[in-house]
Amino acid sequence: MFDILFPALGETIYMSFVSTFLALIIGFFLAIVLTLTSKGGLKENLKVYSILDVVINTLRSFPFIILMIVLFPVTKFLIGKSIGTTAAIIPLTIGAAPFVARLIESALKEVEIGVIEAAKSFGASDFQIIFKVMLVEALPAIISAITLTLITVIGFSAMAGAVGGGGLGDVAIKYGYYRFQTDTMIYTVLILIALVQICQSLGDYLYKITKK
């Protein structure tokens, strides 16, 4: 049984971490564009904001399993095939990026307006305000956002089995559900609980040391 569980754990970690990382890069970029262009933002541009807003909301509305299927052609174009563990990373990333964008956007929105005004008052540029003031101030909230995303992606990755992505969720369905191996099912759930717990604790710890 463990020779099934261990590779599956590896696949889950691989899929979740890589997609979270990629989603962060995309989401971070989107969040900054959203923050800049929002009403009252440093470079207010409501047209750009509302287009992004709609795109993000649309992507977030998809049930993940459907998103995966919709994205088959994109995945195939990007990595040459639409099934397998690596292939699952594409829909996971695209599913998580809008989520990250929203979380980081709201973290940046929480930065006190007065702090931004103060930065302007001593002549900071927009670039400096974003990177030297807002991101510094929002770091703990961003760490929370990353933790939340990682755990959500671990959950999503259970569905990656549907595209041959493997992982613990796949094992739970294939062995635990279809073949009535209750013990395998219990073990997968326990491993997932431990994984989520570790991620959350690490995130909480990082939050605590960055929050002053």
């Binding site: 007065g114 001593f122 540029s125 030297k132 003031v133």
Partner: protein, 318 residues
């Protein structure tokens, strides 16, 4: 140094500043006073370009603010420090890092920054808190850090937006004293926005009263408080409670008046008794000014008014 002429500002259709014209001289402590929504913070923010204005002109050090490009405006702002009601410090940076930030952004050398921050923290009396985080400081201390930060780029002008409104009276006084010290030591022009009359009385040399975007008073602080006109009285929420019978005469005591003996002298010389029915003395900008209302009988009115006129005292019949 700051010349504002016929300044108008609209928020969409609402006029928030109406035909504002004032001059502020170098080295002055200038107060902009008004209730919330009077447009005072907006006016202050026009001075360093945080807000733009619709019509009129605002010239600081011979530069028309509206004409400045984005980078020119950033450069220009080095010359104007600003402090805020809620201190606006970066919570995740230490006192040192907060004060150093403007210089870091402008690419100053590390040694220069270190020395300047230490000097400024000493000036504001917080050199021992250099490694503390803002949430380890009291409100007054936070404002001191903010003041140090506002002075890092050696500005000529310091803008204060309700900087003492979140502080208790004693802390307010100590912050005001610090501002006064900075004004005197560094010859920095200070423009402060406040709704607290106490603040104006304590440090402002000149005051501008705003109501719904209109100027309703603009004078030396002593004058403004000495003989408040109807609008000003309304603003201060003061009305004298005086008797209905007889004649009530209000006598003003300007700052250079030997006021203490005037009333008793008048009583003695006219050989007359009168009631003192109202009075107020205040310390304004280190001068004592005030007024007193006496109640006399109708038949004595002429005698008393003639006496007052002879002594060149400011007075009015209520």
């Amino acid at each position: 140094m700051i010349n504002i002429k016929n300044l108008d500002k609209y928020y969409s259709d609402t006029k928030v500043l109406n035909n504002i014209s004032i001059d502020i001289k170098k080295g002055e402590i200038f107060a902009i006073v008004g209730h919330s929504g009077a447009g005072k913070s907006t006016l202050l923010r026009c001075i360093n370009g945080l807000e733009d204005y619709s019509d009129g002109s605002l010239i600081v050090n011979n530069k028309e603010i509206k004409a400045l490009g984005k980078d020119q405006l950033r450069e220009f702002r080095k010359n104007i420090g600003m402090i805020f009601q809620h201190f606006s410090l970066i919570q995740r940076k230490t006192v040192f890092e907060n004060v150093a930030l403007p210089m870091q952004l402008w690419g100053f050398k590390k040694e220069v920054i270190l020395k300047k921050v230490k000097d400024l923290l000493e000036l504001v009396g917080l050199d021992k808190k250099i490694d503390a985080y803002p949430n380890q400081l009291s409100g007054g201390q936070k404002q001191r850090v903010a003041i140090a930060r506002a002075l890092t780029l050696d500005p000529d002008i310091l803008l204060s937006d309700e900087a003492t409104s979140a502080l208790d009276p004693n802390t307010t006084t100590s912050i005001l004293n610090l501002l006064k010290e900075i004004n005197e030591k560094l010859n920095i022009t200070i423009i402060l926005v406040t709704h607290e009359m106490e603040v104006v009385k304590q440090i402002a040399q000149k005051a501008l009263l705003l109501e719904h975007g209109n100027i309703i008073g603009f004078d030396d602080t002593e004058e403004l408080f000495l003989k408040p006109d109807l609008k000003m009285k309304e603003f201060l929420g003061e009305t004298e409670v005086v008797p209905n019978e007889g004649v009530n005469i209000k006598i003003y005591f300007p700052k250079d008046n030997a006021f203490q003996s005037f009333i008793t002298k008048m009583a003695r010389e006219l050989d007359m008794d009168f009631n003192i029915v109202w009075g107020k003395l205040e310390e304004i900008n280190t001068h004592i000014v005030g007024n007193m209302v006496i109640n006399i009988e109708e038949k004595d009115k002429e005698k008393v008014t003639n006496y007052i006129k002879e002594h060149k005292i400011i007075w009015e019949v209520l």
